[in-house]
């Protein structure tokens, strides 16, 4: 009996079955998918219902609602993955250090600016024209990751590490300082370089929008399109999420990160170099942020030094929404928030007949969600319910 149990545990310890690894890596993604579909359906039903309620007063409302719905969903998905990838940076650092890296939005911004700079450089040497778009994406993402990752690690070394062990608010204030400094330093660099304050993000031609399908509403056909850049963005984000999941859940390093997150000094008693783990956490979070920045800039077409602030704040909201410290939570939170914003941005003005501008109130919606979540479920959608210990 003992021997049997022994054999079992040994086998478990030596070779984790591949199925198990697959489960730990892809399980969260399935969960993510469910949340994506769930929130898409829920929100769609909601707007349809709202348009039906107003049907008497505005008969064309339902058609208009349905016409833009697929586009809103795609927009939500793009926003969602944007928030997810940035939120991961917040959540990883928070998981390990219990510290809100306020400057993470700026790390993201630096990724975007780097991408634009690469584009500009390639254009100036004449390489951009004939370049394969996918290769270009790969290039800017890689360079964005390297620059942002390095920056994040440097920031940690200079502005956060000396403050470890100080009361909570001290590193947070320092992080706010870093955020401001980065904004202005990048502004200084951009305005004194060919980029300019509002830099155009040059890229090779990605071709015409892809026609997904066409639907007929009443008598006119409505094509549903997605821009190739958005498609690239979504694909890249999904790949990054898979890799990160593998890294954290299925490798020895990931386990060391989790152990450090739970108890730093004990982790060092196990022979784990805690400082290296923290550096690594900032590197990974920063690189993800940089990649998101490079892709986001590409998608939007311009970058500026202040572009990181609002997405950063929203990504933080997403991280809290999903349960801060929880990687899957950050992804789920990002996507749910992305959908929500896309719906508010598109439908608010439609339903109020243009009286309220959706884009402006989408921000308010995001912050209201943050407040509501923190009040009613501070541990977030997937977070662990932490009870205060006395």
């Amino acid at each position: 009996m003992a021997a049997e149990a022994n054999a079992q545990t040994s086998a478990q310890a030596v070779r984790r079955p591949i199925a198990e690894t697959l489960r730990t890596v892809f399980g969260p993604l399935v969960q993510l998918l469910l949340f994506v579909i769930g929130s898409a359906i829920a929100l769609s039903l909601l707007v349809i219902l709202l348009s039906l309620v107003q049907l008497g007063a505005r008969p064309d409302l339902l058609t208009r609602t349905l016409t833009i719905l697929p586009q809103v969903l795609i927009d939500g998905l793009v926003r969602g993955f944007l928030f997810s990838t940035i939120a991961l940076g917040y959540t990883m650092v928070y998981g390990v250090l219990e510290f809100i890296n306020f400057a993470h939005g700026e790390i993201f911004m630096v990724g975007g600016v780097t991408g634009a700079a690469v584009g500009l450089f390639l254009a100036s040497v004449g390489l951009l024209e004939g370049m394969n778009p996918l290769f270009f994406v790969l290039l800017v993402v890689l360079i964005g990751m390297i620059v942002s990752g390095t920056l994040a690690v440097t920031v940690e070394r200079i502005a956060y590490r000396p403050l470890r062990g100080a009361p909570r608010l001290v590193p947070l204030i320092s992080a706010i300082g870093v955020s401001l400094v980065l904004q202005d330093v990048v502004r200084l660099i951009m305005t004194n370089s060919p980029l300019g304050f509002n830099a155009r993000y040059q890229s090779p031609d990605f071709g015409p929008p892809i026609r997904l399908f066409e639907m007929t509403l009443g008598d006119r056909p409505v094509p549903i399109i997605i821009s190739p850049k958005a498609l690239v963005f979504i694909t890249a984000a999904v790949i990054m999420l898979i890799v990160l999941n593998y890294l954290v859940n299925a490798t020895r390093l990931g386990k060391a990160i989790r152990a450090t997150a739970q108890d730093m000094s004990t982790a060092s008693l196990m022979g784990i170099n805690v400082n290296r783990i923290i550096t690594l956490t900032f590197l990974i979070g920063g690189a993800l942020g940089g990649a998101a920045g490079a892709l986001f800039g590409l998608n939007v077409g311009t970058v500026n030094p202040y572009m990181g602030f609002i997405p950063g704040l929203k990504a933080f909201t997403a991280a809290v929404l999903g349960g801060i410290g929880n990687i899957t939570g950050a992804m789920v939170g990002g996507l749910v928030l992305g959908f929500l914003e896309a719906f508010v941005a598109s439908y608010l003005s439609l339903f109020t007949n243009g009286a309220l501008s959706g884009a402006a109130y989408a921000d308010i919606a995001a912050f209201s969600i943050l407040i509501l979540i923190l009040i009613f479920r501070p541990s977030g959608l997937l977070g662990e319910s932490t009870t205060q210990k006395v």
């Binding site: 022994n6 545990t9 386990k255 989790r258 108890d263 060092s268 784990i272 170099n273």
Partner: protein
Amino acid sequence: MALLKLEDVHTYYGKIHALKGISITVNKGEIVTLIGSNGAGKSTTLRTISGLLAPRQGQVLLNDERIDRIPSHEIVKRGIAQSPEGRRIFPRLTVLENLEMGAYLHSTRSVTYQEDLERVFTLFPRLRERVSQKGGTLSGGEQQMLAIGRALMTRPQVLLLDEPSMGLAPVLVEQIFEIIETINAQGMTVLLVEQNALQALGIAHRGYVLQSGRIILEDEAKVLRDNETVQKSYLGLE
């Protein structure tokens, strides 16, 4: 032969002078215990040895090699393991993962890892039963076993135990002390910090009595047990 040696060690917490010149020798194969009241510097001594605190003065030697200037994760590599005060299990890792963390410096694919694991499970059969349970859901006694087991997984030369009996039911305290004796009988050198001085002196070979950061007495455990001061202040015998 002195395996671990502290020479005139001074450690500070900020401005607080916590250790005021501690000299301790731990020989191979011994159980040495540090006793003293709260705040005397027992835990601080252990934390200084394991590198969680850096001494401002004096040196710590392991096999005559100085280890007081290297970080704690390096000290583990040299062969010092600590089961920290309050056990400090990783609450959201399973029992097995906790043990794997103990073996962080060794490959979990190696044969020796299997042997280490087997040894821990033999010492603590309860852990084998709970191998896939989260550390945080274990009872106090089981957590203590896991903490000791995890420390053993680092394959140490010296095992530092910080208050292993703290907060355990009296019935479990006996068990833990028996296990420490067993581990020692298998050849492990142990440096034990205990509030429960009576039982600590019962299993130790030698002991040191600490009082506000200084060593006031050191001797064979038996002699200390018969010492009047020790009896009055630390053993509660009148």
